[in-house]
Symmetry: D2
Subunit: 242 residues, 4 copies
């Protein structure tokens, strides 16, 4: 059973700790007496009680560091074909958002190891992993990933300052056909990683960037939101050959 529960109305998503009383501007809800599927009517809102998906729980996770957004996490899943049972390495953890998305996808038969050398980020990420109930799948280490020794990975993800210096090690520790993904906001980091991937005879799949716009539509006025995120990061995907 998950720690959290979602109160969902047509205009709100409130993720609350199970068993606690929630005070909102819409009224007071005592979650110790509700069950999944219950409908709760306050003065202003009609809520239904639902189990959180991983994206619900992520929405209340703390963001101590820049996160890998859903937009980019989704590309990793769909491009690699990420599946139940995969063994993944993630570094640095940051706030743990990608480790959590990977953990959710690989499930109890899979495993995610995530490295974070900064103590403050490590603490935040660890708590977030626990919030999502994934501590049995995702292992977090408060260490520099530079000397990691685990092997036989299906997928390695780097969101680090000098990822290119770790391409050779990553390649050595992937399964044949396994995926290395280098993420960074800066194009130079992609260029450097790409060169190292080629030096290691990896199969380079693609370097991509993904731009997403939200649209609003109200009574005949439909338009993309006028301002928002214009860039998160580039990602280069490559696979181990030899």
């Amino acid at each position: 059973m998950q720690k959290y529960i979602v109160l969902l109305s047509s205009t709100r998503r409130v993720v609350v700790e199970r068993g606690k009383t929630h005070y909102g501007d819409f009224g007071i809800i005592d979650t110790s007496t509700v069950e999944v599927g219950d409908v709760i009517r306050t003065k202003k809102e009609t809520f239904v009680v639902v189990e959180p998906t991983i994206s619900d729980t992520l929405s209340i996770c703390r963001r101590g560091a820049q996160i890998v957004t859903a937009k980019d996490a989704g590309q990793i899943m769909a491009i690699t074909g990420l599946s139940s049972g995969w063994k993944c390495l993630d570094a640095g953890s940051g706030s743990g958002f990608l480790a959590i998305q990977l953990g959710n996808a690989v499930g109890p038969k899979g495993r995610v190891i995530t490295y974070e050398k900064r103590k403050d980020f490590f603490t935040t990420a660890k708590k977030n992993i626990e919030r999502c109930g994934l501590e049995g799948i995702v292992t977090i280490k408060n260490q520099d990933v530079a000397t990691f020794r685990e092997k036989n990975f299906d997928l390695i993800f780097f969101d680090l300052k000098h990822s290119h210096t770790l391409v050779e090690r990553a390649n050595a520790r992937l399964k044949p056909g396994g995926w290395l993904i280098v993420y960074s906001p800066h194009i130079e980091a992609q260029i450097a990683a790409l060169e190292e991937m080629r030096n290691n005879h990896m199969h380079v799949h693609a370097t991509i960037e993904t731009i997403q716009r939200k649209w609003k539509s109200n009574h005949g006025y439909t338009h993309p939101e006028p301002s928002g995120i214009t860039h998160t990061g580039f990602m280069t995907f490559a696979r181990k050959v030899v």
Copy 2:
């Protein structure tokens, strides 16, 4: 054991039927005598033999209809938090690409039902589902989805001409908190679906569009590809409340 096997080199990905002999410009490879992990050296290339991921097998699936691309399938996974065990409805199947991505993500504990009324698309999609070894998880029906009667879905995906006419039915047949996603190339279809979602008091999460560019980088010349896909479709995400 999967039907296919991947021969991966630094420049090629060749997905071949296991046990067959493959003739390429790089030489002849008899796959009946190879095992996963073997390294095969032809005159021109060094291949490693690997198990296909779902994206590998999708790469050789036939495209009889416009497909939901990995770029958009990934958004569905990451935004909804799609997980092992989910029960999904998909219509129309088209070539079955999204049903296959969903099937891969929900795994043997989950289920995907996909409807396709056109006989030719149905036949293509069915074959693609079998190619991916997902016939135990993904059920395809050669019927119009308009009167579907299954219920308790975690996720319903519509890529149909008049999706908005089915929003009420979808809402009635989702679990509380379950996701409805309407996909279409045309903005009017999103506007109409959004209105129906609001009429049904659904929790509207967002309408998005996702633009992806591939970058090339060779010896100091790094740039986005000059031409390519500029639009696939919009997607509106909403969840059942009551």
Copy 3:
């Protein structure tokens, strides 16, 4: 001679009224004693004194209403081939930014008439036109454009709530081959205008939207700005045939 003068350093652009003393955190500059081309060294900065371009003067114009940005104004110039001597209609003026760009391009042999029914916007736009020294070229009227009677326009630009209701009138008052441009943030306004353009047998050139990103580059860290403008407006370009 222009009212303003620009003090340009490697990090600043300060547009000041000619003859006035300017007090900045970089020091005090008395512009009554400087001439174009002079170099002024303060403790922190080296400035050169230059004549303002129209974009310099626009940078200090007041923005009482949403403006047509340089990004979109540039499309109008390049797509239509806007030239010296053209006669243009612009409505509504808003803060007058587009009227000013048009006025600068058509020059003293050309003419721009701009309509603004809101008194407050009219006042701002009028002052901005004067700031740019274009009152001899750009005429602003504090009237609703709906009944405009001028004719023989080379270019008519509408940034209005219901532009489509004015397409017929615009077509009647354009020169053959003259351009009508409908701008709006909302896609419905483009669809409605487009239909009217077709009803009037206009030559529809295109409906476009233009997305611009700024890039930052510092010591090996090069990336698009992470957040910013994601949408201004759509524009439909059509020309009068009969």
Copy 4:
């Protein structure tokens, strides 16, 4: 009087040499007997005869080399505030498209000098400049721009392989406040140019890239075009200080 004339119908734009007979699938039109403003009815189309704008004439200019598109030319005009009377340098000419756009904007009081070292591009660009009737404003030289000696430019535009090597020379030959624009498809060229601009204490305005999508709308089906141009070039804008 221009060499060309435009036959414009609701679906076609035919740019033809004045005085010649034009044979199209829509019928035969003898332009020696028509005047601007005439309406010509063939079996299939109703045409009006109009003077070409510069964008009309550019539409029939030959493209021997990659051109600077209207999308990017427009940014140059609007961002710099390009005006009648400016003196511009353009190199390399390529097919002359930008030189022509600049020539049209600066008019008879202005001047554009464009350099092209490749003989074949030079020949094409020269012919295109003449097609547009701009040979009195735009001077083309079949020389390498590397040693250009003209000075007092308001605007210098480089679309060259190693533009950064010419930043110092450009800065020395601009008027104070004058604009240098470096265009290239490759991000490395922008980074290198930017560094040189900073070394020369120029005022760096911005590095931009502009993405444009065309939209289609027919009877309730409105969408961006599914494929097209995804990248032309980046542009860095800087101004001379000292």
